[in-house]
């Protein structure tokens, strides 16, 4: 009990006050100041992205955008679009949103509450992906009605199933996005507004092609294949924002009120969502076990049929292929996955080159785009054909196709049929050295990354070198460079001779040391030699300034005592001992030159003991 009382006593006052505030005002939220300077980018994810995954996507986008734009800071925030009832809720909501008639504004309001304290700048850009683009459109409408000037906010949508971008913002949708293609077909069949036309063709990676809706994921498809385009579009959107109005201390917008309806939905989802998640996990495990058992039974049946067939043929002379054998063979030829093949939507002759795949077109405004107006050599999506619309997907492991960000069951054999031919991309990056780097040695190691096994060739002066990337894609080459500036050209290539863009580095090698400084101990100047005896322990050491010296390192008794850009230092040294000083000058490349040693001996005679005073009492 005493411990408890002591602990309570030690409680910080601020914590206690905050605690009391939260007890008496549970609905209290801290409003942020809304300032003119800087930008806030809100990323809203697609469905079936848990918080961590959405956070990762936001962080990756943030790194790509960078922390500043036009000299003002950029802050990236997540407006987390939660998934409900294992995606079923989102699917239903998405259908409503396609018709511009959402079932509920619960998720929108949750995002608004969440970001209210985090939006601290007048200028706001909403970046949505997949179903998140419906929410960015809804958020825009809400925000302009609740305190955000129109000229201060914009929307940029990626992989959007929506038929518009709020505020006339730009968007990016890949012609290889299988989910948007599917939505387009469904929408056409239902006479619903279809997604905006695709305006880029992003090659699909091998990993991405194994996903049910390949080419749709934020990180795996869009950020991997079109990051530069996305960043440029976002920068264009940011440059169009104006911080109108005055700074506000009550936050940048008015958050939605917490209504009874909202609370009821919150409680409902809190109960339903974990239950649905667990049910899906159990169903997935059970389904997988059933499929595995079926496959094993099928294989056993095939083996048995083959054995019987062989036995019959050995008895009957001329072999007869039994019906059961044919059946087993046919069964093994049929894909196990019952998902129907999606319609081929990208013709094979549009396979882009690695560089030209991402068309550097300006951001597309939110206006209807006729198919022939596409600014790139890709086939427009096929005309809606109700007959060609695939049947609903009986997906045993994924409840809702939904408008997911990165999720989706594997259906490689199906997706492969609809993918364009593989695109050869030869990536290359140089990690070090930076361009215009300066070295104090002629041996310079260049490091970087490409694809594992790819050859990297380096040309410098009249020489060349080559190396192969290791299993992690890392490569390095150590070059011997001459004095002065050398331009190094670097190219990676694969086994078929496809090459990357050439990168260059201008490297300066400077191995010439600066002049050696001349060191003096001021107190010894009268001696004019490398050794002197003095009677003081405080000495001033100084040396001549050296051109090109970046700094000096002063050595005292063979140990570096100080580094400085000055040319004088004061020391207190030991009595009745020799102290040796030297100083080295270092240039920018790290070349050094050391002065001659100067030794000082401090001689201070010990005081003579006084003779005792006669008659003095010793106490």
């Amino acid at each position: 009990m005493t411990e408890i009382i002591v602990t309570l006593t030690r409680m910080r006052r601020t914590t206690a006050y905050l605690f009391a505030l939260l007890i008496f005002f549970p609905g209290l939220t801290l409003a942020a100041t809304c300032i003119q300077q800087g930008y806030t980018v809100i990323f809203v994810n697609g469905v079936l992205n848990d918080f961590e995954k959405a956070e990762d996507s936001k962080t990756e986008l943030g790194r790509k955008i960078g922390g500043t734009f036009n000299g003002e800071s950029v802050s990236i925030k997540l407006g987390h679009n939660q998934s409900h009832i294992a995606g079923l809720g989102d699917f239903a909501q998405s259908v409503g949103q396609i018709f511009d008639n959402p079932i509920s504004y619960y998720d929108r309001d949750t995002i608004l509450r969440q970001i209210h304290s985090e939006v601290t700048t007048r200028k706001v850009l909403l970046v949505g992906h997949s179903q998140g683009t419906f929410y960015t459109n809804e958020l825009y409408s809400y925000l302009v009605d609740h305190g955000v000037p129109r000229e201060s906010i914009a929307v940029y949508n990626l992989a959007t199933p929506a038929n518009r971008v709020a505020g006339g913002g730009a968007y990016l949708t890949s012609a290889n996005d299988q989910l948007v293609l599917r939505v387009r077909q469904y929408a056409a069949a239902a006479s619903a507004p279809g997604p905006l036309q695709s305006n880029i063709l992003i090659p699909i990676s091998a990993e991405e092609s194994t996903k049910l809706f390949g080419g749709h994921s934020f990180s795996g498809a869009y950020l991997t294949g079109a990051a530069a385009r996305i960043v440029r579009d976002i920068e264009t959107a940011l440059s169009g924002l104006k911080a109108s109005g005055v700074s506000d201390s009550d936050g940048c917008f008015i958050p939605p009120p917490t209504t009874v309806s909202y609370k009821v939905q919150k409680v409902g989802f809190a109960a339903l969502d974990p239950l649905a998640k667990t049910s899906v996990s159990v169903a997935a495990v059970t389904g997988k076990a059933v499929v595995t058992a079926t496959q094993k039974a099928s294989a056993a049946a095939a083996a048995l049929a083959k054995t019987i067939g062989n036995a019959l043929s050995s008895f009957g002379g001329k072999a007869k292929v039994s019906a059961s054998t044919q059946g087993a063979a046919a069964a093994s030829a049929v894909p196990q996955n019952p998902i129907p093949a999606p319609q081929a939507t990208v013709s094979a002759n549009i396979t882009p080159s690695p560089v030209s795949a991402v068309v550097p077109a300006p951001p597309v405004p939110n206006t209807p785009i006729p198919a022939q107006a596409e600014s790139q050599p890709i086939s427009p999506p096929p005309a809606p054909d109700p007959v060609a619309v695939p049947a609903p997907i009986p997906a045993p492991f994924s409840i809702a196709p939904g408008f997911g960000g990165d999720g989706g069951a594997s259906a490689a054999s199906v997706v492969e049929e609809s993918q364009p031919a593989p695109v050869v991309v030869v990536p290359l990056a140089v990690a070090s050295p930076d361009d215009s780097a300066l070295f104090g040695t002629s041996s310079v190691t260049v490091t970087g990354t490409t694809t594992s096994g790819f050859l990297v060739a380096l040309a410098y002066g009249a020489d060349t070198a080559s190396t192969t990337a290791d299993m992690n894609g890392d490569w390095s080459a150590t070059l011997s460079l001459p004095e002065g500036v050398t331009a190094i050209g670097i190219v990676a290539s694969d086994a078929d001779g496809n090459t990357s863009d050439a990168l260059t580095r201008n490297i300066t090698v400077d191995t010439t040391p600066p002049d050696a400084p001349a060191l003096v101990v001021d107190e010894c100047s009268a001696f004019g030699s490398a050794y002197c005896e003095i009677a003081t322990t405080t000495v001033n050491v100084s040396w001549s300034s050296v051109a090109d010296a970046l700094y000096y390192a002063l050595t005292k008794n063979a140990a570096i005592s100080a580094t400085t850009t000055a040319t004088t230092l004061q020391f207190v040294i030991d009595t009745n001992a020799t102290t040796t000083f030297s100083v080295a000058a270092y240039d920018l490349a790290g070349n050094g030159a050391t002065s001659a040693d100067v030794s000082v001996y401090v001689y201070i005679p010990a005081p003579r003991p006084r003779p005792p005073v006669p008659g003095m009492m010793m106490l």
């Binding site: 309570l8 605690f19 918080f51 987390h80 990056a429 140089v430 050295p433 070295f439 990168l503």
Partner: protein
């Protein structure tokens, strides 16, 4: 001094007291019980507040970057023996990670600083996260460090910039989360994920 209220008032007060004393006593007991019940939560709050303060106080300083305070190579037997690892110079960065970053970037102090800052933030996930509040604080530090890393390469060639930055992020993560135990420890903190963050736009501790 005579009683100014008189015997009548005293009687009334006594009557009231007799009627309310038991309800008051029960109310008092309930209050005491509630206070005792809340004590562990309050202690937890205090611990959380102290940890959050410590997390936000964790900043890289020039001494961490100048290479003059490097730890000695850690005992190989101890390097991966615990989740926390060895931090002999007690700067919040695991010694093996610190030395690896210095070895990788001997001539690039700015890149070195950014990677050290990110390593420091990732280490916080392994050592300081035990609830949503502490997770949020560490996530903010990690987010700052991640953004700081994005400043270590020129954006003149965006494609190249993306590759290098992601490579540097992955590099630190591979140093820091180099064992299954550490990866699992980091994954365990996912249960505390929560929304909300600071608006600290000074991404780099050292500019």
């Amino acid at each position: 001094m005579p009683n100014a209220w008189g015997p009548g008032v005293a009687r009334v007060l006594l009557n009231i007291w007799r009627r309310v004393r038991w309800p008051l006593a029960i109310f008092g007991l309930i209050l005491v019980a509630l206070v005792i019940y809340r004590i562990p939560a309050v202690i937890e709050q205090e611990r959380t507040a102290e940890t959050v303060d410590r997390i936000y106080a964790q900043r890289l300083t020039p001494e961490h970057v100048d290479g003059k305070h490097l730890p000695p190579p850690p005992d190989p037997a101890q390097v991966d023996a615990t989740i926390e690892g060895v931090d002999a110079n007690q700067n919040g960065i695991r010694d093996d990670v610190e030395l690896a970053i210095f070895e990788k970037y001997p001539n690039s102090p700015y890149t070195r600083a950014a990677e050290l800052q990110y390593a420091m933030a990732l280490q916080l996930y392994l050592t300081e996260v035990f609830n949503s509040e502490t997770w949020r604080a560490v996530a903010n530090q990690s987010s700052r460090a991640s953004m700081c890393l994005s400043t270590t390469y020129p954006r003149t060639n965006l494609e190249e910039y993306f590759v290098v930055i992601e490579r540097r992020v992955a590099e630190v993560e591979s140093y820091q989360l180099n064992t299954e135990a550490r990866r699992q420890a980091k994954d365990r903190t996912d249960e505390f994920t929560t929304s909300g963050g600071s608006d600290d736009r000074n991404y780099c501790d050292i500019n």
